[in-house]
């Protein structure tokens, strides 16, 4: 599958906030949300288009890696974007955000785009964290904020795509060193500097995307 860029994402937050569900919801639309069944997965990829360019998002979930220091520290570094997720029905998941953010900031590439996600917005009746609180936290820490639901798919697309847009803008501004894969960005074949617009590449991308999702 051909793409202009590949962005690596990580997805972090307390257990049970819905990280895996969000990931599957975004990467594989064929899994229709069903009333009482939310399936999750911890890896996924999907093509999106920004500014007419094919961009592949590759998302790696943390699950189970938190036990080891070596793992957490390296995990953050290779990512261009991070989704920091809390559960709006459980305040403690919101309270832990600072710790997550500290960890992320300490280990990640300073350009990493972090998006704050208040998940499970479908459970408004059980809400414990006000939307305004999420907004305030995001403002205070310079994050983009959104409330989503992995169950109804509300805002899920937007969350991932807005993050990608921001990364893309940073690339355009020249903030990201795209030649350094440690930043979580890969340049696709078609975009290689020697051959910026390979004629066949576009076709390939087209056919490939029809094959997948």
């Amino acid at each position: 599958m051909s793409y202009a860029y590949l962005f690596k994402y990580i997805i972090i937050g307390d257990t049970g906030v819905g990280k895996s569900c969000l990931l599957l919801q975004f990467t594989d639309k064929r899994f229709q949300p069903v009333h009482d069944l939310t399936i999750g997965v911890e890896f996924g990829a999907r093509m999106i288009t920004i500014d007419g360019k094919q961009i592949k998002l590759q998302i790696w979930d943390t699950a189970g890696q938190e036990a080891f220091r070596s793992i957490t520290r390296s995990y953050y570094r290779g990512a261009a974007g991070a989704l920091l997720v809390y559960d709006i029905t459980r305040r403690e998941t919101f309270n832990h955000l600072t710790t997550w953010l500290e960890d992320a900031r300490q280990h990640s590439n300073s350009n990493m785009v972090i998006m704050l996600i208040g998940n499970k917005s479908d459970l408004d009746s059980r809400r414990e964290v006000k939307k305004e609180e999420g907004e305030a936290f995001a403002r205070e820490h310079g994050l983009v904020f959104m409330e989503t639901s992995a169950r109804t798919a509300a805002n899920v697309e937007e969350a991932f795509i807005n993050t990608a847009k921001e990364i893309y803008e940073k690339i355009q501004e020249g903030v990201f060193d795209i030649n350094n894969e440690a930043n979580g960005i890969k340049i696709g074949q078609q975009h290689s500097p020697t051959n910026p617009s390979l004629p066949g590449a576009g076709n390939q991308a087209g056919s490939a995307s029809s094959g997948c999702c």
Partner: protein, 1093 residues
């Protein structure tokens, strides 16, 4: 046609309910009917596989019959069957298969379902299937699949994955094959999997890991890390200009990942595994690469000579490929750095202890023998790994293949591990044996390339050469050479040995690296290493100290040498031309404290060493005095640096994450390097450095004197008014105004000007004459600009303070006053308040660094030093304002005189007292409101008072004559144990004043009676008399306590003043009265005041 119908929207035979057993049965029928994957049914199969995942998870939670059906029909075998087909193996189908499996294993909650899924060997068959790993999605899903499985491992499930009888553990062995995959997330997953595996407490599985995989895996891992380090080294060598910083920092971060991974393994405390890992790390990496690189390469001839001679002796060509024995070497910078990292990260005692032992005690023989002596103490029957940095003979893949193929073989043994007892005599080839000793590495292209570029053939150590010779010697035995020949060879070996015959070459190297004559490039890293060793939990502290203090070099112990070198570095750091970074000084000071343990029972520092430290401190004051200017920026810098220093604790681990310390020290901030980690650039930064250096030394000296800091920070935050404090404003000067912010919000406020703060208050609704502080800012950060168009208007900005003004100000607003006069008065007070607040702090600094001019020197000097450009507006009047009072005060020549002149009429003490009074007038409302002041502040001021008293007697005179005896005095102080900042007697009074000002409390005045205060206090001052401004303050006594008359007269020249009256400054009287009392009395008095509130 059936296929296409059902795939493309046909509902033929398809159950309505997507999540039901019926649907699964239907999907099963599809699998049954499409056992061969083709172009045409691929889509159908993929969708079916996807749906199966969905139904199974649903079934797991809702309907157990779903799972039963899945197992009964053995549907996993269909999965296997599909992926094994050529076309089925296309990544399209495989991605779906793997995703389905992942969903299955991640989302399943039912334990028994999981067991059933694992119970036949299908999962293992899937694991060993060779997918197309070049497809990044396949790779991602596959490694995630393994990771998910590894998370399910426990003592029960382990048997599904590890087969004891066949010695088969594909989950682990397949995973570790990707240990150096280019994709970082894959490597991370591999590490997670391996750690999850090791965690399982299953003896036979662990035995398998150790016996069959540990040696190949660890040797490859270590080699991989080593290669990475060579890359890092190249980067450091080529990047002298800090250009490829990103790359270097990534390499460093990556290396840290490796170390942390190793540490995580070691922390699991699996003894057998740790023994193997320790052995490999030590003898395949740390010793032969890191330690080896500490000492310089011997002259390039040695090896050539040795080989030549050998050839001559043996009378046949000697097959020692020079390049092959050429052991890789990294720069000593990198070596010190890497060793530091080891000690900062790894805590496994046998490993760090052995490595520390090598550094402290070892000599070059270690390259042959390793750290056997130490390791034997930790591990019984250890399997020795012969030291040498080189590529494992077998790749991990090959090695693991052998494991699989021949379950009982010990094939790995022949590779890297030799049982000590079975000497490796295998081949009669010199090269072979020599290679085992030092340089298996060398056929590797990466290594040789880089080495050749750097130092050609010279990278070979004497030991390697002699080892080679020794090898030949051994070899010669086998080849039946004559005794005569043997002797000759022996002789050849000896001189090589004698070369570089230092007792402890590595320790010597580390210590001599502390030399900073040129710069501190090496020294910083050497300090990091010493620090890391000293603070490593695995290195026994007493042992470390013991080794250092016992082993002698000449007449001194190494410890003494270390202390001396640290002191030398510290002394050097105050030389104007020195190129020593702040961070270096900080660590050096910290280590000095660590090794001398001041103020403990086993303190060990000689008088001379102590003197050296104190004179370094004094020298830092001398340097700082050169920067002491009354330009605003100096004060800002001073306070900034103090705050900065207070905020950050020394953290060497963080420091060592910063790859820039690997590059030559640079001065330019353009590199983005943190200020303390580079050299100062420009005058301002030189001043900052001098300030910081002084703080560091001051702090350390205080540690040696067992003193607490009492003079810093300059602002005593305890006495500050905070927002929402309720203040008694009776008798305070208030100027009513309207504050108009940028957003055009208007607020009616009263402006109160305290000695340090600008306060905006709102009348308290409940108490007449009281107000609530709505805004507070420091006067010193106030900027006032008049308005061209409106004479009643001022633009006031209150900055956040500090030297950098790029942050948004605390307040920036237009202030509208009732009339022009009030406006002018406010402006004047603010301007003056600002300069006074600043002057006061400048005096404090002057005391702190014992400014000679400020302290005893001639008034002329003092004035010049102080006033240059400081308060521009005041310079014109100052000469006129000089009052004769002070000429009578014979004990206060310089400092006080300067004060007097500058602040005119009352001199500083009076002004401050006046201000203090006004502060005193502003009181907390105690009940239910935040208290602005607590009792600490008063006790604080009294302690400092005592200290002042202690420090005054018995002064020694310095060579600089009595004018400035400060320098040598500190040394004296250390002996007479008086813990105060020394000052010449003559300036005691002003200091007291400044002490007051710090505490905003006039009570603790003790010795000021000789100052002519009462006289002055009774001098009637002319002051502005404001009309009572606000309803709430009708009862306030109208007078300006801040500004004695002559000032006003000058300053308000030409400005129409509503009313000028002569008012006795009652407050001054009061204060001066207190001033005559004993401190204790004033304490009581103070309490009394508080009680009356």
């Amino acid at each position: 046609m059936f296929r296409s119908r059902s795939w493309f929207g046909g509902n033929w035979n398809r159950p309505k309910n997507r999540l039901s057993l019926e649907h699964l049965k239907y999907l099963y029928s599809i699998l049954e009917k499409n056992t061969t994957v083709s172009e045409s049914n691929r889509g159908l199969l993929v969708e079916s596989l996807r749906c199966i995942a969905e139904i199974l998870i649903w079934g797991d939670q809702h309907d157990s019959s779903v799972f039963d059906f899945f197992l009964e029909k053995n549907m996993l075998s269909y999965f296997l069957h599909i992926m094994r087909q050529k076309s089925g193996g296309s990544s399209f189908v495989c991605v779906q298969l793997l995703q389905t499996l992942n969903i299955l294993f991640e989302n399943i909650r039912n334990e028994t379902s999981l067991y059933y899924l694992l119970s036949n060997n299908h999962v293992n068959s899937i694991i060993v299937h060779k997918f197309d790993f070049s497809d990044e999605d396949v790779m991602g899903y596959y490694i995630l699949f393994l990771k998910t499985l590894s998370l399910k491992l426990n003592t029960h499930t382990i048997h599904f994955f590890y087969n004891e009888h066949t010695n088969d553990f594909p989950l682990y062995t397949e995973a570790i094959k990707f240990f150096n995959h280019p994709e970082s997330m894959v490597r991370i997953a591999v590490r997670t999997i391996s750690l999850n595996v090791y965690k399982v407490q299953n003896a036979s599985m662990l035995r398998f890991i150790r016996d069959k995989t540990a040696a190949p895996y660890f040797s490859n891992l270590v080699w991989f890390i080593g290669k990475h380090i060579l890359e890092l080294d190249t980067c450091v060598r080529t990047d002298i200009d800090h250009q490829s910083n990103q790359r270097l920092s990534n390499l460093v971060a990556e290396h840290l990942d490796h170390l942390h991974y190793l540490n995580d393994i070691l922390l699991l405390e699996i003894d057998d595994l740790n023994a193997v890992l320790t052995e490999h790390l030590l003898h395949k990496l740390f010793v032969p690469l890191y330690i080896f690189s500490l000492t310089p390469a011997p002259p390039p001839t040695s090896l050539a000579v040795v080989t030549q001679n050998l050839a001559a002796v043996l009378n046949r060509p000697v097959d020692i490929d020079i390049q092959e024995i050429n052991n890789p070497r990294v720069s000593s910078i990198v070596a010190l750095y890497l060793l530091s990292l080891v000690f900062l990260v790894i805590t496994h005692a046998p490993l760090v202890h052995a490595l520390a032992w090598v550094i402290l005690n070892g000599d070059h023989s270690v390259f042959k023998e390793g750290a056997a002596e130490i390791l034997n103490a930790y591990v019984e029957h250890r399997l020795t790994v012969v030291p040498g940095f080189g590529e494992p003979r077998e790749s991990l893949e090959q090695a693991l293949e052998t494991v699989g193929a021949n379950s009982t073989s010990h094939s790995y043994d022949t590779d890297n591990i030799h049982n000590t007892l079975e000497a490796p005599v295998a081949t009669s080839n010199a090269r072979e044996v020599a290679g085992a000793n030092a340089a298996e590495s060398t056929s590797n292209t990466v290594t040789t390339e880089e080495q050749c570029a750097e130092n050609d053939v010279c990278g070979i150590s004497v030991e390697t050469a002699s080892a080679a010779a020794q090898a030949v010697l051994n070899n010669a035995k086998l080849a039946n050479i004559t005794d005569e020949e043997k002797e000759k060879i022996q002789k050849l070996v000896q001189p090589a040995r004698a070369f570089n015959e230092l007792n402890r070459p590595f320790l010597e190297m580390v210590l001599s690296a502390l030399d900073c004559t040129e710069n501190d490039y090496l020294a910083l890293l050497s300090l990091c290493l010493i620090y890391a060793m000293a603070y490593n939990r695995g290195v026994k502290n007493d042992w470390f100290e013991q080794v250092l203090s016992q082993s002698a070099k000449g007449p001194y112990s190494y410890k003494t040498e270390l202390i001396e070198r640290l002191l030398h570095l510290i002394t050097l750091s105050n030389q104007p031309s020195c190129r020593i970074r702040l961070i270096t000084i900080e660590i050096a000071l910290q280590l000095l404290v660590t090794f001398t343990k001041p103020c403990t029972d086993d303190a060990c520092i000689t008088e001379a060493q102590r003197d050296a430290l104190f004179s370094a401190r004094n020298q830092s004051m001398v340097v700082l005095r050169n920067f002491y200017k009354s330009e605003d920026i100096f004060l800002d810098l001073f306070e900034d640096e103090f705050n900065e220093m207070r905020k950050t604790n020394l953290n060497v681990e963080f420091l060592c994450m910063d790859s820039t310390i690997l590059l030559p020290p640079t001065g330019t901030p353009l590199t983005g390097i943190n200020f303390t980690r580079r050299l100062p650039c420009g005058e301002v930064e030189k001043a900052r450095r001098a300030i910081r250096d002084f703080f560091l030394l001051r702090k350390t000296c205080q540690q040696f004197l067992n003193e607490k800091e009492t003079l810093l920070p300059l602002t005593n935050t305890m006495n500050l008014v905070q927002v929402d404090n309720v203040l008694d404003l009776n008798n305070s000067d208030l100027i009513a105004c309207t504050v108009i912010t940028k957003e055009s919000t208007k607020q009616r406020r009263f402006l109160v000007i305290d000695s340090l703060q600008l306060i905006l208050v709102e009348p308290d609704a409940k108490l007449l004459g009281w107000g609530v502080a709505k805004f507070v800012g420091f006067l010193q950060d106030v900027e006032v600009v008049g308005d061209k168009d409106d004479s009643r208007c001022l633009h006031i900005t209150v900055h956040r303070g500090g030297a950098t003004h790029n942050r948004t100000p605390l307040l920036s607003a237009k202030f509208l006053f009732d009339d022009h006069i009030r406006c002018m008065a406010a402006k004047q007070r603010l301007t003056k308040g600002r300069s006074k607040a600043r002057q006061k702090k400048m005096y404090q600094i002057a005391q702190l660094i014992e400014m000679p001019g400020q302290v005893i020197d001639s008034p002329v000097y003092a004035v010049a030093g102080l006033r240059a450009g400081s308060v521009a507006s005041s310079s014109s009047r100052s000469s006129r304002d000089h009052r004769p009072i002070l000429s009578t005060t014979n004990r206060v020549p310089g400092f006080a005189a300067a004060l007097k002149r500058d602040t005119s009429a009352g001199g500083v003490c009076r002004i401050q007292m006046a201000q203090n009074r006004s502060i005193e007038g502003i009181r907390n409302e105690s009940a239910g409101r935040p208290r602005r002041r607590n009792s600490n502040s008063s006790s604080h001021s009294s302690t400092s008072q005592n200290r002042d008293a202690n420090s005054s007697p018995g002064r020694e005179h310095s060579p600089r004559s009595s004018r400035d005896n400060s320098q040598s005095r500190s040394a004296t102080r250390s002996r007479d144990n008086s813990p105060r900042m020394p000052r010449p007697r003559s300036e005691e009074i002003p200091l007291e004043d400044f002490q007051h000002s710090r505490n905003n409390s006039p009570h603790s005045r003790a010795n000021s009676s000789h100052l002519n205060t009462p006289t002055r206090a009774h001098t009637p001052s002319r002051a502005l008399n404001y009309e009572p401004i606000a309803i709430t303050v009708h009862n306030s006594t109208p007078h300006d306590t801040h500004s004695p008359a002559p000032h006003h007269a000058t300053q308000l020249n030409g400005v129409p003043i509503a009313k000028e009256v002569l008012v006795p400054v009652a407050s001054s009287e009061e204060t001066s009265f207190i001033g005559n009392e004993e401190a204790a009395t004033s304490e009581q008095r103070r309490r009394g005041i508080i009680e009356t509130v």
